[in-house]
């Protein structure tokens, strides 16, 4: 479904990704692992179109990426804390709404679709609460509901659980895996904890110094990704 082919990204003179190839199939949760600075977040940003790609292609189902095909879930959640949970979920639909109908409150069909998305993440009963009043794990699930409301085919999650406690982390990753398996989404999640990836992902990709160094079963040893280099160049 999602194919990143020969992706090269530079920050100034410094290359961060060297011709990386990664694919995520429909119905698959792929975990991307790697040490700080390995390029794993840059890979996600390149896929989302948040950083300019020097070389390579991002395709969804063989066609060049359309922005609305890809929904992003952020590490720092990025909800509008003062608005209701429902309004935050509705905001995912903005990309396909004409300007006029989106300025004076969301149309009914969008609100009902957002309610279904909130129900999907188990938070339909909190629809009218302020987003800021929810716990971190609940807020991240609202962010997932916002992503669903975008009707994406691919979900990109950038360290979605690194600000959450262990129980909430398990819950959010289980949710992402479920969405991949039951809704047929392609989910790419950048993760910091190999143990979480081993429990929830269908496949892992390991990055080191901007190159893919392992790709395969989620329970394989990944310690080599995190070994400290003797000479830091």
């Amino acid at each position: 479904m999602l194919a990143l082919t020969d992706i090269t990204v530079r920050y100034g003179e410094r290359p961060v990704l060297h011709g990386v190839d990664v694919t995520v199939a429909r119905g698959e949760l792929l975990a991307v692992l790697g040490a700080n600075g390995s390029g794993k977040s840059t890979l996600l940003r390149a896929a989302a179109g948040l950083v300019p790609v020097e070389e390579g292609r991002v395709t969804v189902d063989g066609r060049p990426r359309d922005r609305l095909d890809l929904a992003v879930v952020f590490q720092r959640i990025h909800l509008v804390r003062r608005r209701t949970v429902l309004d935050n979920a509705c905001a995912g639909a903005l990309g396909r709404l004409p300007l006029r109908s989106s300025l004076l409150g969301f149309p009914r069909e969008v609100r009902e679709e957002a309610m279904a998305c909130l129900d999907r993440v188990g938070l339909a009963d909190r629809a009218h609460d302020r987003a800021g009043s929810l716990s971190g794990g609940q807020q991240q699930r609202v962010a997932v509901a916002r992503a669903l409301c975008q009707r994406p085919r691919v979900v990109l999650a950038d360290e979605p659980v690194s600000a959450l406690d262990p129980a909430a982390s398990e819950q959010v990753l289980a949710l992402l895996a479920e969405l991949a398996h039951l809704e047929g989404l392609a989910v790419l999640a950048v993760l910091h904890q190999p143990a979480l990836a081993a429990r929830h992902a269908d496949r892992v990709v390991g990055l080191r110094d901007g190159r893919v160094v392992l790709d395969g079963a989620p329970d394989q040893p990944v310690d080599s990704l995190y070994q400290v280099l003797e000479a830091v160049s």
Partner: protein, 277 residues
């Protein structure tokens, strides 16, 4: 002492001397003093004149106290104070749409282009630079004496100040939610309406209340140049040497200003409390 509490001690090494910094400090001090000497001279500050004028001021106060609290004076005074309040209110409220439009154009992140950003900033600077009294004098000539030119003057100046303050508040907002909506495909206007403005609404409302407070006080001064309200009455009573009436008006003004100040502060406190809840 060391023996008693047993704590380890070390001598403090002498501070490194930095002759350059010291010289700069002296030079700055000399400059500040020199500037004040020039200012003192230019504004003709003279304690002699103040002492000579003491008798005049005593006479002035003697005639003003006690204030004339008869209803013929107090009634019109309260009525005009209310007009002053209305001028301040409309001057603030009517400037909201213009301030909002200019603030969105003058904030990085919402400005559609550098060109629009610079243009909006210039308009705001111009409106801020012209004092409201000058706007009032212009509008009094244009539409005649009365409260209406006062409202127009306040709107003009307030758009300049509030637009700038709002633009700064928009720039200080957390960019995260805006980024999230942009990646979800929302356009510039949708991002402003659904992420930015809802996030900064309490800050904008607080600044609005602060400007309301300031504008009620400004509208007093506008009355002095003929733009209606109680300032107009104060000006009149001075011109007619009715200093006891003037004092009545001033007392009414004090009550009005303190009341508005309290209200504005209370609303702002509530807003900032609501933010942490």
């Amino acid at each position: 002492m060391t023996a008693v509490d047993g704590a380890r001690r070390l001598p403090v090494p002498p501070k490194p001397r930095r002759p350059k910094a010291l010289a700069l400090g002296w030079a700055l001090t000399a400059l500040v003093v020199a500037v004040h000497v020039v200012a003192w001279d230019a504004t003709e500050v003279s304690f002699g004149a103040l002492a000579d004028g003491w008798r005049g001021m005593a006479d002035f106060l003697g005639e003003a106290v006690p204030p004339d609290l008869s209803w013929q004076v107090l009634g019109p005074s309260l009525e005009s104070a209310l007009v002053t309040l209305w001028i301040g209110l409309l001057g603030t409220t009517l400037s909201v749409p213009f301030s909002l439009a200019l603030a969105l154009l003058a904030a990085r992140g919402t400005a559609p282009s550098t060109w629009a950003y610079q243009a909006a900033r210039s308009v705001l600077s111009f409106l801020r630079a012209v004092p409201d009294v000058v706007f009032a004098l212009i509008f009094v000539t244009a539409v005649g004496l009365g409260p209406f030119p006062g409202v127009l003057a306040l709107v003009c100046h307030n758009v300049g100040v509030m637009g700038k303050l709002w633009a700064e508040a928009l720039e200080d907002a957390d960019p995260g939610p805006s980024l999230a909506l942009r990646t979800a495909g929302a356009n510039r206007v949708q991002v402003a309406a659904h992420a930015l403005l809802p996030s900064v609404r309490p800050q904008l409302a607080g600044l609005l209340m602060y400007r309301f407070d300031v504008n009620v006080r400004s509208s007093l001064v506008l009355g002095l140049v003929g733009a209606g309200g109680i300032g107009f009455l104060i000006n009149q009573s001075i011109k007619l040497f009715k200093f006891d009436e003037m004092l009545t008006h001033i007392l009414v003004v004090v009550v009005l200003v303190v009341a508005v100040d309290r209200l504005s502060a209370a609303v702002r406190r509530r807003l900032s409390e609501g933010d942490h809840a």
